[in-house]
């Protein structure tokens, strides 16, 4: 349990820390430190297992089918990184306390910092590659938020976006790589993967998997040519730069390479890809660092260079080089974090980071200067400091590579050159900032020492630099051994952590680097002049260019595809449907099935012809909207007849009543719309559309014909058999609707209700003035509500209501039911609106349709939920028989209540929709008001 806890704690802290923001900055800083302290305490007991070369594994199942598990694994390497993350994290919290001003959003800062810490711990402690990837992406996201912490700065936002794009892209590559590895090994568990190194390396997909994994590692660890995001990430607050971009996050790529070292390293591909990338990064970073005037810029490129150095060491493939790499991870984290903190102090106290202005600070802050000078010396590789030890090992290893011919000289020369640059830029850092004359035009003058405890974290780190430098075996020996053993898969070569290994070639290289660097610094003006002639390839510019190109392309593609024309979308949709439908149809073909064709009787033949002619005529004369609408209503009526003809009385009744409502609706719409559709499309377009329509129609004809002549078996036997005994009704369609598939119906009336409410909302406060005439030059009739219609309509209402009640009640046994009865009632009410006007009718209707809808849904739901009270599933129905005077023995099913809900919902929805449209015109409202008066 303790390992997942270590990862979880910072996240819990991220939630809890903001609660302490009220208590002041000290309270929140203390609260933010607690998770790390507990985590350190939780890790401590495991040391006995780890020092004996063991691992600790805590696994919980998550998605076993995907190979994903909550698997946490602690070994020497994981412990080393976890300690770096936790301890430097603690120091950064102390430092931030003094760094952030009172105006900053400290709650957000600490919360994000803790989130980052948790993600980072997740990476190093994951025992499952997929789980690790999740944390990997989390570090990219939290890093993005931390870099852009000062959201008002454009550079910060840009830098954050670039970091996210590069590391996020690398994360995708890593995902692909990990999936490949998991596929090869058959498991994503780290133990399985590490044990299957030979299998992976001999697999034909190894080069692909390796490249993808390395892309992830290189982008994260800012290796050439992806290095450019790191200097721009320096827009982050300095504690973030110290923590994420020198000590921890950028080491995640290094960690990944070390973690998968047994599984992936030791091949030629690994050697060339990793070591050459490292070499290029090492040299490039060290070279550029020298010319940066920005204090943090210098440190950023120096970080790039040191990351390259570690990568190069890992790439060499020898065991000693791997040990040196791990050692340098520790050393770099300590001296670089302290340098960043020192740079932050200087920035804090002088108000600038420009080394051309910051000079001679020794006089103003000797304490900080001493600390920074020790750390910078470690960075330069001065003896008795930790940077010297790992650099010596690096020099020694660079001589051990068995490269053919003159190539063997390349690594040592590159190493020495990079060493020279490193000394030069370290010298610049020290000399320019603390000596070299007087400060030039500082925003804050005179600078003075920072608060006492702001220097405390720097002191700790510098102390660590010296301790490791002087007493390497005692201070880091066991930890390094354990980490190296975990990296190498158990076998650790003989190595000695000594201050001096005697007078040999590596020492000579160190001397060369040291004095070469100092010489270079004294001659720096020549180098600056030389560098000024070079045309620097600005990675940021290239990146922004590529991004804006991609944005432009996406924009123009979207603009082309999504031009705002429904006509175009409908065309694409129809054509794709036809294309998709053709494939299976072409395979099976069209044919008249076994059942053959039945003879046509003349009434049916006539009706069908009317339907076909009306449908085609609707399309042909659609410009005359009113006539087209009349033709459309003919089609609807014939469809209703068709349902009646082919044994579907319920459908016929529904279609008939819906038809009435639909036509009224379209008539209403036409009142506001132009009644004439002008020609918009060219002749070619129309011919194309006709061809497409014919293709669709022909296809549907053939499919229908094929389907209709096939024998079939249906699941409906069940419904037919159980309708009466199970549902208590003989009208199977109605029993299906309110009982067997009642849940569907409940959904359906809900949709109906939502549509009606949507209509109401959409038309609320919308005014639409109808055109003065019908577009054919005729003015609207001046007649108000026709007297004849009014007189007929009024007595119709009670009659129609009675019919609908009858239809409703008998619905369970004979054609009818809630849907049909609801529609009949609606039609009867709509007739009143048409005949007598909006105001007259509204005055006489004592309820709002919203409430009717709500009541309907309530009834239906209660009827369904009622069965729960008796321990039956939702919507179980029951029925019984009662004796109704006059009518006789009557069957009552609980489904009747449900059907009542349907009835009410249909009425409410239909009328709400139509009345909303009717109320649209202020003109008509005034007119009917006048009439009503």
């Amino acid at each position: 349990m303790s390992l997942p806890l270590v990862v979880l704690l910072p996240f819990l802290g991220a939630i809890a820390a903001p609660l302490f923001a009220q208590g002041g900055r000290t309270a929140i800083a203390i609260a933010s430190s607690v998770p790390a302290l507990i985590a350190l305490a939780a890790l401590f007991p495991h040391w006995s297992v780890l020092s004996a070369g063991g691992t600790v594994l805590h696994t919980y199942e998550w998605l076993p089918a995907l190979g994903l598990s909550f698997s946490f694994r602690l070994d020497g390497l994981a412990l080393l990184f976890a300690l770096l993350i936790l301890i430097i994290g603690l120091l950064v919290i102390i430092y931030s306390h003094y760094y952030l001003s009172a105006k900053e959003n400290v709650a957000k800062f600490y919360s994000l910092l803790l989130c980052f810490k948790g993600s980072m711990l997740g990476i190093v402690l994951s025992g499952n590659l997929l789980l690790m990837l999740i944390f990997w992406e989390l570090t990219s996201l939290t890093s993005f938020l931390l870099i852009s912490f000062w959201t008002h700065k454009q550079d910060a936002r840009r830098g954050a976006r670039m970091a996210l794009a590069i590391t996020g892209g690398g994360g995708l590559a890593l995902l692909a790589g990990i999936l490949l590895i998991g596929n090869i090994v058959g498991s994503f568990e780290l133990d399985d993967v590490l044990a299957a190194g030979d299998l992976i390396k001999s697999h034909s997909l190894y080069p692909v998997a390796l490249t993808l994994v390395l892309l992830g590692a290189f982008t994260k660890s800012a290796q050439f040519p992806f290095h450019f995001w790191l200097p721009h990430a320096m827009q982050a607050p300095t504690p973030i730069s110290a923590y994420l971009h020198s000590a921890t996050m950028v080491k995640a790529g290094i960690f990944l390479m070390a973690r998968l070292y047994p599984a992936l390293a030791g091949t030629e591909q690994w050697f060339y890809m990793v070591s050459f990338t490292g070499m290029a990064t090492l040299l490039l970073g060290a070279y550029i660092a020298m010319f940066k005037h920005d204090l943090k810029g210098l440190l950023a490129y120096s970080t790039v260079s040191h990351l390259g150095l570690i990568t190069l060491l890992l790439g060499m493939g020898t065991q000693l080089a791997a040990v040196a790499a791990i050692f340098h991870v520790i050393n770099h984290a300590t001296f670089k974090a302290s340098l960043f903190m020192a740079a932050g102090i200087i920035d804090h106290e002088t108000g600038t980071r420009d080394m051309r202005r910051i000079n001679g600070l020794w006089r103003y802050m000797p304490h900080t200067a001493t600390l920074a000078m020790v750390a910078a010396s470690s960075m330069a590789g001065v003896p008795l400091l930790n940077g010297f030890l790992s650099k010596e090992m690096f020099f020694a290893e660079s001589l051990q590579l068995n490269l053919p011919g003159l190539w063997a000289w390349v690594p040592p020369i590159v190493a020495t050159l990079a060493g020279i640059f490193a000394v030069a830029y370290s010298a610049r850092f020290v000399h320019d900032v603390f000596f070299n004359g007087k400060p030039v035009d500082l925003p804050k003058f005179p600078p003075h020492e920072p608060p006492r405890y702001m220097k405390f974290p720097v002191e700790i780190l510098v102390f660590a630099c010296i301790m490791v430098g002087v007493f390497p075996t005692i201070s880091v020996g066991p930890l390094l051994y354990s980490a190296a053993s975990a990296t190498l898969g158990g076998e650790v070569p003989d190595y000695q952590l000594a201050i001096l290994h005697g007078f040999n070639l590596p020492l000579l290289m160190s001397f060369l680097a040291f004095f070469g660097g100092l010489l270079m610094y004294t001659q720096r003006q020549r180098f600056f002049d030389f560098h000024a002639q070079l045309r620097e390839v600005d990675g940021k510019a290239v990146f922004e260019f590529v991004v804006s190109k991609i944005e432009d392309m996406a924009h123009s593609f979207t603009g082309w595809l999504e031009n705002g024309s429904l006509q175009r979308y409908a065309l694409l949709l129809v054509v794709s449907v036809i294309a998709v439908a053709i494939m299976p149809l072409a395979e099976n073909g069209f044919y008249i099935g076994e059942n053959g064709l039945s003879p046509v009787d003349w009434p049916t033949g006539t009706a069908a012809s009317v339907l076909i002619v009306s449908a085609l005529a609707t399309a042909t004369w659609h410009r005359e909207r009113f006539y087209a609408l009349v033709l459309l209503s003919v089609v609807g009526l014939v469809v209703a007849l068709g349902f009646a003809r082919f044994s579907a009385p319920d459908l016929a009744m529904t279609q008939l009543s819906v038809e009435v409502v639909t036509i009224v609706l379209l008539m209403l719409a036409l009142y506001y719309m132009p009644s004439w559709t002008p020609i918009e499309s060219s002749k070619g377009q129309r011919i194309r559309d006709i061809l497409i329509a014919l293709a669709a129609g022909t296809g549907m004809t053939l499919i229908t014909l094929t389907m209709l002549t096939q024998p079939f078996s249906s699941i409906s036997e069940f419904f037919l058999e159980n309708s009466k005994p199970g549902g208590g009704g003989t009208n199977v369609v109605n029993v299906i609707l309110v009982d067997f598939r009642g849940f569907d119906t409940l959904g359906e009336i809900t949709v109906l209700a939502i549509a009606a409410l949507g209509i109401y909302a959409m038309l609320k406060n919308t005014a639409l003035t109808p055109p003065p005439g019908d577009g054919l030059g005729h003015a609207w009739t001046r007649d108000h509500y026709p007297l004849m219609l009014r007189q007929v309509a009024r007595p119709m209402l009670p009659l129609a209501l009675m019919v609908s009640a009858y239809i409703f009640l008998r619905g369970h046994n004979l054609p009818g039911g809630g849907f049909i009865a609801g529609l009949i009632t609606s039609v009867a009410l709509i007739l009143q609106y048409i005949a007598s006007g909006m105001v007259w009718t509204e005055d006489r209707i004592p309820f709002r349709y919203h409430n009717v809808i709500g009541l309907g849904l309530l009834f239906a739901t209660i009827a369904g939920a009622g069965s729960l009270a008796f321990g039956y599933p939702f919507l179980t129905t029951t029925f019984g028989y009662i004796n109704w005077p006059v009518v006789g023995k009557f069957e009552v099913a609980s489904a009747l209540v449900f059907d009542l809900g349907v009835y009410l919902a249909v009425i409410g929805a239909t009328l709400l929709a139509l009345v909303s449209i009717g109320r649209l015109s202020p003109h008509s409202a005034i007119k009917s008001k006048m009439e009503g008066a």
Binding site: L616, A648, T662, A669, Y672, W676, L763
Partner: protein, 122 residues
């Protein structure tokens, strides 16, 4: 009979699709209405064509398939809701944009009357 039924569905689909591809709201709504007639008939036809076999227990010797009927019944009602929603959407569009185009054009002038179009030689 089956051929006739299939042809009817074909005619409904043809007209519906053609109207669906027009540039103004009202024809599109009519097209969708026609198309939903066609689709409803097609769904209904999946229970095959039967004469005098209404699925009411005790009224016939054998019964037609009640399931497609139940599905189509709700489809008709939902189809109405959809049509109503579309009509209102186009009315709202008319109110806000003062035209009934759905082809992406932003013409604010009222559509030419039939007479004008005839004069212009169409």
């Amino acid at each position: 009979m089956e051929l006739l039924f299939a042809l009817a569905i074909g005619a409904l689909t043809t007209s519906g699709v053609y109207l669906l591809l027009r540039a103004r709201t009202f024809p599109v709504i009519m097209g969708l209405t026609l198309l939903s007639y066609g689709v409803n008939l097609f769904l209904f036809a999946s229970g095959r064509l039967a004469t005098g076999q209404q699925p009411v227990i005790g009224t016939a010797a054998s019964y037609s398939d009640p399931l497609p009927q139940a599905l189509v019944l709700t489809a008709i009602v939902i189809g109405f809701a959809m049509t109503a929603f579309l009509v209102v959407l186009s009315l709202r569009n008319l109110a806000d944009n003062e035209n009934d185009h759905v082809d992406g054009r932003r013409e604010t002038a009222p559509p030419p009357s039939k007479l004008e179009q005839e004069v212009s030689g169409k």
